[in-house]
C-alpha cells in the first residue's frame, strides 16, 4: 500500500511522466503526439499481427502441401526436413495445416470480436446514457443473454444451422456480447456525470454527439483491451467447442481443432499439440501486445 501511495504521489507530482489534458498538449501536432507514444508493445504487437496476416494471405504459397493431403506412408512422423512440423495420424503435413489454419485464426478473431463488440457496445452506450426504461429493458435482455448457458446456445446454433466454424464463432460472439455491454454501460454511467459531459449537455450538444464524442472516448481504451483479450479468447473458445465436438469440421486445419485432436497423442506425438499450441499462443500474445500498444497510443486521457 505504501508503495502504491508513493507512486501515486510521484505520478501526481511529475506531470511530465504522465502528461495530463492541457491546453499545450492540444496544440501539438498529431504526428508528434503519436511518435511520443509508440511503445515497444505496439511495434512487437503489430509486427506479429502483420506476420500472421501475411501468412494467412499467402498460405497456399507458403505451405508445401495441401492441408488435407493424406500421405499414408508418413503417419505420425516427427518434425524433419520434409515435414517441418512433422505429420499427424493420417500423415498430413502439420506445417501446411498450421499455415492454412492461420487464415481461420484471423477470421475467427475478426468475425467473433466484431459480432460481440457491435452487439454489446451500442446497446451499452444507449442504456447507460439514456437510462430509464430503455436501460431497464436492454439490461434485462442482456441479463437473460448472459444467464443463458453458452454451451447450450452453441449447441442450439450448431443444431439449427449445422456444425461449422462460422456457426461456432457466431455462438462465441453472442456469448461474449454481454461482457461488452456491461463494460460500456458501466463506463457510460460513470462518464455521464462527469463535468465536461454535463457541460456539453448544457451548451446543447445533441445526444449522439455526446455519446460518441464525449463518452465513448472514455471507455475506448478499456474497450480496446477487452476486444484484444476477447479476440484471443475466441480462438481458445473455438478450440473448446472442438473439444466438445461442436466446432470446425474435419478436415479443417483450425488451430483449436488441431489441438483438440492432437491432445490424444500428447505422449506419443507431442509435436501435434505443442507446435500448433505455440502458434496459437504467439498469436494471442501478439493481439494482446497490439492492444496494449494501441491503448498507449490512442488513450484520450494522455
Amino acid at each position: 500500500m505504501t508503495s502504491l501511495t508513493r507512486t501515486t504521489v510521484r505520478i501526481l507530482k511529475n506531470p511530465t511522466a504522465t502528461p495530463l489534458r492541457t491546453g499545450a498538449r492540444r496544440r501539438q501536432t498529431t504526428e508528434a503526439r503519436l511518435r511520443a507514444r509508440i511503445t515497444p508493445s505496439l511495434w512487437i504487437g503489430s509486427g506479429m499481427g502483420a506476420t500472421l496476416l501475411l501468412i494467412a494471405l499467402f498460405a497456399p504459397l507458403i505451405a508445401p502441401y495441401a492441408p488435407d493431403q493424406v500421405m499414408a506412408g508418413a503417419r505420425l512422423a516427427p518434425p524433419n526436413s520434409t515435414n517441418l512440423f512433422g505429420t499427424d495420424a493420417l500423415g498430413r503435413d502439420l506445417f501446411s495445416r498450421v499455415v492454412h489454419g492461420a487464415r481461420l485464426a484471423v477470421w475467427t478473431m475478426l468475425f467473433g470480436a466484431s459480432i460481440a463488440a457491435w452487439l454489446g457496445v451500442i446497446p451499452g452506450l444507449v442504456a447507460g446514457y439514456v437510462g430509464g426504461w430503455l436501460d431497464q429493458l436492454l439490461s434485462r435482455v442482456m441479463e437473460i443473454a448472459m444467464a443463458f448457458p453458452g454451451i447450450l446456445l452453441a449447441l442450439i446454433i450448431v443444431a439449427r444451422l449445422g456444425p461449422s466454424l462460422n456457426n461456432a464463432i457466431l455462438a462465441i460472439g453472442i456469448v461474449s456480447t454481454p461482457g461488452f455491454y456491461r463494460l460500456t454501460r458501466a463506463h457510460t454511467i460513470s462518464a455521464r456525470k462527469l463535468l465536461y459531459v454535463e457541460a456539453a449537455r448544457a451548451i446543447g450538444a445533441n445526444d449522439a454527439r455526446i455519446m460518441f464524442r464525449h463518452i465513448a472516448p472514455n471507455f475506448l481504451p478499456s474497450l480496446i483491451v477487452m476486444v484484444t483479450m476477447r479476440a484471443g479468447l475466441m480462438l481458445l473458445a473455438s478450440g473448446g467447442l472442438s473439444f466438445i465436438g461442436l466446432g470446425a469440421q474435419p478436415p479443417s486445419p483450425e488451430w483449436g481443432a488441431l489441438l483438440a485432436t492432437g491432445r490424444t497423442y500428447m505422449e506419443s506425438a507431442p509435436w501435434l499439440t505443442i507446435l500448433p499450441g505455440v502458434c496459437l499462443t504467439l498469436t494471442i500474445i501478439g493481439t494482446n501486445l497490439l492492444g496494449d500498444g494501441l491503448r498507449d497510443a490512442l488513450d484520450p486521457h494522455i
Binding site: 495530463l20 437473460i144 447450450l152 442450439i156 439449427r160 483491451v225 478450440g239 499462443t281 494482446n288 494522455i302
Partner: protein, 308 residues
C-alpha cells in the same frame, strides 16, 4: 428502497421465466429428442411414439411450459427423463464440487491477478511491467485443456506429488483450480493494470490531490476504489461461468461437477435436467449481478442510488 428491491426481485423472476421459456423452445428446436436417445439404437417407430407420449413430448409447447412453471413454483423441478431421479437431487449431488472448485479458482485468480495488475501498473513502462504482462498474456493464451493435461502429466504422472483424479483427496482440487485460475488471473491482471492506470491519470485524481487531500486518502478513497469497478464486473462474469460448471476441466480431471452433468443432459436431450441446470445458472447470474451492482455502489458513489 423497498419498492426498488421489489422491482429488482420482479426483474429477477422475469429473467428466470424468460430463460426457461427460451430454453424449452430452443430444446424443442434442437434435432433429436430424449425419446430417440432413451430407446436406444434399435428402437422401432412404435416404441418411439410410446416413449414420446410417456414423456409428454407430444403435448403442445405452451402446455409443456405451463406445466413446468407451475411445478417449478412449488419447488418441483421434475424428474430426469433418463434416470427418473428428481432433477433437484441430481444437481445438489454435483453442487459441492462445483462450488469448491469455483471458489478455489476465483480466490486464486484474484490473489494472483490483483497482485500482478497493481505491481505492473505502479511500475508501468519498466521491465517488471513487461515481464508481468508477458506472463499475463501467456496465461490468457494457453487453452485450458492443454494446460490441464500438461499439469496432470507433470505433477500426477511424472512427479506423482498430486492426485490424478477425483475429489477423494483434498489435494485433488489443486490442479483443476490452478488450471481454471490461470486465464482468469491473467485477465484480472490486465484489466487491473489498465484500469488503475486510467484512474491514476484521470482528472479527478488530480483534482483530489489539488484539494490538498492526503495521498493515502487519495489512494484508498479514489484510486483503488475506482479502478476496481471494471475488475468487479469481470470477476462477477467469471464467477458466474465457473458456477455454471467447468466442463473441460471436470472432464479431464474426472470431477463430479455441474458442467459434466449439464453437457451430458444436453446431449441426452434430458429436458428437465437441462431446464433445471439452466435455471440454476440463470439464478446464479441474477444473484452475482446483484452483488456486482452493490459492489459498484459501494466503490463508486455516483451509482450508489441506482444499485438498489
Amino acid at each position: 428502497m423497498t419498492i426498488q428491491l421489489a422491482r429488482r426481485l420482479l426483474g429477477a423472476a422475469t429473467t428466470l421465466a424468460v430463460v426457461s421459456l427460451i430454453t424449452l423452445v430452443a430444446l424443442q428446436a434442437t434435432p433429436g429428442d430424449a425419446a430417440t436417445g432413451m430407446v436406444g439404437d434399435s428402437a422401432s417407430t412404435m416404441q418411439l411414439q410410446t416413449m414420446r407420449a410417456q414423456l409428454g413430448l407430444d403435448q403442445p409447447l405452451p402446455v409443456q411450459y405451463a406445466t413446468y412453471i407451475v411445478k417449478a413454483l412449488r419447488g418441483d423441478l421434475g424428474h430426469s427423463y433418463i434416470s427418473n431421479k428428481p432433477v433437484l437431487d441430481l444437481m445438489l449431488e454435483r453442487l459441492p464440487c462445483t462450488i469448491v472448485l469455483a471458489l478455489c479458482a476465483i480466490t486464486l485468480a484474484l490473489m494472483i491477478g490483483m497482485t500482478m495488475g497493481i505491481a505492473a501498473a505502479l511500475r508501468a513502462g519498466t521491465k517488471t511491467d513487461t515481464l508481468l504482462m508477458s506472463g499475463a498474456a501467456l496465461g490468457l493464451a494457453i487453452p485450458t485443456f492443454w494446460s490441464a493435461l500438461v499439469l496432470m502429466l507433470i505433477f500426477s504422472v511424472n512427479l506423482r506429488v498430486l492426485p490424478l483424479i477425483g475429489i477423494d483427496h483434498p489435494l485433488g482440487f489443486v490442479l483443476p483450480s490452478i488450471t481454471l485460475a490461470l486465464p482468469t488471473a491473467a485477465a484480472i491482471a490486465r484489466l487491473m493494470r489498465s484500469s488503475l492506470l486510467d484512474v491514476l491519470r484521470s482528472d479527478y485524481v488530480r483534482t483530489a490531490h489539488a484539494k490538498g487531500l492526503m495521498p493515502r486518502r487519495v489512494l484508498t478513497h479514489h484510486i483503488v476504489r475506482n479502478s476496481l469497478l471494471p475488475v468487479v464486473t469481470m470477476l462477477g462474469l467469471h464467477l458466474g461461468h465457473l458456477l455454471g460448471g467447468a466442463f473441460i476441466v471436470e472432464t479431464i480431471f474426472a470431477l463430479p461437477g455441474l458442467g459434466r452433468l449439464t453437457v451430458q443432459a444436453i446431449f441426452d436431450r434430458d429436458y428437465p435436467l437441462v431446464l433445471g441446470a439452466t435455471l440454476f445458472i440463470a439464478a446464479m447470474y441474477v444473484i452475482i449481478n446483484f452483488l456486482v451492482d452493490l459492489a459498484h455502489g459501494w466503490l463508486d458513489p455516483h451509482v450508489a442510488h441506482e444499485a438498489i
